[in-house]
């Protein structure tokens, strides 16, 4: 059942639960398995938190969230107009060290990295960010 859902939010931390609920409900509608839903919910929460805290420096802004199901994958695209930031620059190989706990992005990005199967970043035409997160490996749908 291919499909697409969208959510636009103001970049505020008190909108995080709305984002998580949107991802969870969309994933359920698209037939995702429970483990896939929790992974994607976690990854999106961490990514949106980073946009709010680091991208917009808690000064507010717009975040556009789109989730799509195609035949084999769940794809989330996050668009913002904050300063350009490619999370690949913070990828880590091993477990986070104590230093990582001092900065939100240093823990959040390893979590994103470990819970989705593909991460892609591009700079948008307006100079903002588009972050794409995919779950595509294994049996991600109930049927």
């Amino acid at each position: 059942m291919p499909g697409k859902q969208r959510l636009d939010i103001e970049a505020q931390l008190d909108n995080l639960s709305t984002v998580r609920r949107f991802i969870e409900e969309s994933c359920r509608e698209f037939g995702a398995r429970d483990g896939v839903i929790s992974d994607l919910r976690l990854a999106v929460d961490e990514a949106v938190t980073n946009i709010i805290i680091h991208g917009y420096q808690k000064q507010g802004g717009n975040i556009h969230i789109e989730i799509e199901r195609d035949e084999k994958a769940l794809i989330v695209r996050l668009r913002d107009d904050a300063v350009v930031f490619d999370p690949a620059s913070r990828f880590t190989a091993g477990p986070p060290t104590a230093q990582a706990f001092e900065s939100p992005g240093k823990l959040g990005i390893p979590l994103i990295q470990r819970t989705v199967d593909h991460i892609d970043h591009r700079v948008t035409e307006s100079g903002g960010n588009e972050l794409t997160l995919k779950k595509r490996n294994g049996d991600i749908f109930r049927s």
Partner: protein, 124 residues
């Protein structure tokens, strides 16, 4: 809808006094400061050992770990550049989902995790 975290505080006596936080709700970047503030409050009042009961935590992301790291520091636990080891902060009954996140980040090597409150309290 805003995320909420409720914190019920109780005292247990094992080999030494232990403060227990029974947490209900979500630990995210919006509620992280609630947990840190409550911990700071009880530590300021004399708490030396803190057990976090996570059985009613429905969501925890990296914000939860940052809060725990900050709390462990306030409890006087060792924090080097490459490791965090806590003997004064321990966890009780994380859900399967929260346990998965803990293991994903390798945090289970930093904090002791129990599924029985008596064992947890007596471990301090």
């Amino acid at each position: 809808m805003t995320s909420t975290l409720r914190i019920a505080v109780s005292q247990e006596q094992g080999n030494t006094p232990v403060t227990v936080f029974r947490l209900t709700g979500d630990i995210d970047a919006n509620t992280q400061s609630d947990l840190e503030s409550k911990a700071e409050e009880v530590i300021g009042a004399g708490t030396q050992n803190l057990l976090l009961d996570l059985s009613e935590v429905t969501y925890m992301g990296s914000a939860g770990f940052r809060a725990m790291h900050a709390i462990a520091g306030k409890l006087g636990d060792e924090q080097s550049a490459t490791a965090i080891k806590s003997s004064h902060l321990k966890l009780l009954n994380p859900s399967a989902e929260v346990s998965k996140v803990i293991k994903t980040l390798g945090f289970d090597s930093y904090l002791d995790i129990y599924d029985d409150i008596n064992k947890a309290v007596n471990s301090f």
